[in-house]
Amino acid sequence: MKRAVPWLLTFVAGALMINDFFVPHRTHAAITQELQQWGLIVVAFTYVLGMANVFDLHFKKIRRGSSEALYSIVLVGSMLGMAALGIFHDHQGEHSPFIWLYNTVYDPLSATMFALLAFFITSAAYRAFRARSTEAVLLLSAAILVMLGQVPVGAAIWGPDSFLGGFPGLKDWIMDVPNLAGKRAILMGAALGAISTGIRVILGLERAHLGGGK
């Protein structure tokens, strides 16, 4: 029973959503619309679950007084503070404290974290991108050509009106031919994998998502 009911629910929901692609009937559409609304509500509840999990993890760290307890206090305090401002205070307009914190704390911190990538890439470029094999040489050559074709300085060195379209032309060829072929192959493979996994889940052949082993 514990397994049969979840599987039956999975089967009905999955079959209805697949049929939705092929059955243009109004009643069927109304049912799937309702199911999607349920889905949106369930997803919203996962936020509550996620918050409970974060609290549980970080309160444990704070109680233990570990070296990372300070970070946990900042995280929990920030989360509660932003949530309280969003719920109990106006969260729109330049003068709202929520937007002020968004603009002055969250926005620059988030952008800074992402910008750090450039520094890690620089370090990796110097230390890790080694031409150890023929494949690595091909990869490095393609990377250098695309990097040059991607920025205006590449066009300034060897412009698009020159032989082979210059660096921009070579970059476009790499992106449109070998890259496109590879990406299409990956997309098709992933799509076939997703279809087969979906069918296995709906038919109950794949039950890992129900928990308790295979």
Partner: protein
């Protein structure tokens, strides 16, 4: 006592903070000193611009802005130029986001573009901001059935059924175009797979540079009418719209950083081969 390192070893194992410092200079210097460089417009961005330019004046588009502050340097310049192009054509806009941190960015972009102040757009009549909806692909599929059902109220709490602009628009196919400004998932890939391929709605997109190669197959298949990838794509689009902004300003810095990275790759490999020749490479 440790053995004295040779100059080659010292360069090979250089403190990475020196590399960071050189990169910081390479990025900051071109932002201070103006370096005029030619900007080549790629066919993908030209097609994007043309697709929007071909929209009949006064038509209505749906814009899904799905990015957060980490994607702002690459996508906000495009977003801003997009609003200018659409506003100059008097195209009406219905906007929402499937990313929680995106709505304040959209509000800031609309204010910076002067949508209400300079272009005279009226809220709920010429444009609608529906805000954020959780649910990712489920939300996308739900909008296909009913936009007003998915967003019962707009950003300000006005019931969707009472918004004049939405009286005749409720599903993707009611709109002249779907425009997605996306920094990841849910974004372009999910919209093409769950919406465009099913409804056939004309779609264009802007994405981060790292996602660009993933979406080229959709552009080549005609599922995307145009695509602007990364800050370079945004700069090309700014050039076409005639609104030079942060993306075009950032091209010199991006050029310098790319050249520096290439130099580091080449130099690192020279060190590697020298070390291998002397029997020290791993």
């Amino acid at each position: 006592m440790t053995a004295r390192r040779s100059w080659r070893e010292r360069l090979e194992f250089i403190d990475r903070r020196w590399l960071f410092l050189i990169l910081a200079f390479a990025i900051v210097l071109p932002l201070v000193v103006d370096l005029p460089l030619p900007l080549y417009v790629s066919p993908m961005v030209q097609d994007l611009y043309d697709a929007i330019e071909d929209l009949p004046d006064g038509s209505t588009v749906l814009i899904s802005a799905d990015y957060d502050p980490s994607g702002k340097p690459e996508l906000e310049p495009f977003h801003l130029a997009l609003i200018h192009q659409l506003a100059e054509k008097k195209v009406k806009m219905v906007m929402y986001s499937l990313w929680p941190a995106a709505t304040p960015i959209t509000e800031a972009v609309l204010a910076e573009a002067g949508l209400t102040t300079d272009y005279g757009y009226r809220k709920d009549v010429d444009y609608v901001l529906l805000g954020y909806k959780e649910g990712q692909q489920i939300a996308m599929r739900s909008i296909q059935k009913s936009l007003k059902g998915t967003f019962p109220v707009d950003r300000d709490g006005t019931p969707s059924n009472e918004i004049p602009l939405l009286q005749h628009y409720d599903t993707y196919t009611d709109f002249a175009m779907l425009i997605n400004v996306s920094a990841g998932s849910p974004g372009v890939k999910e919209y093409v797979q769950n919406v465009q391929s099913i409804t056939g709605v004309p779609m264009v997109a802007a994405c981060t540079a790292v996602s660009g190669p993933d979406y080229v197959p959709y552009y080549k298949a005609g599922q995307l009418l145009g695509l602007a990838a990364g800050m370079k794509g945004a700069a090309e689009y700014e050039k076409l719209v005639g609104r030079p902004g942060l993306a075009m300003a950032g091209m010199s810095a991006q050029s310098a950083s790319h050249i520096l990275l290439i130099a580091f790759i080449v130099f690192g490999n020279v060190m590697y081969f020298l070390a291998r020749r002397s029997g020290g490479a791993r």
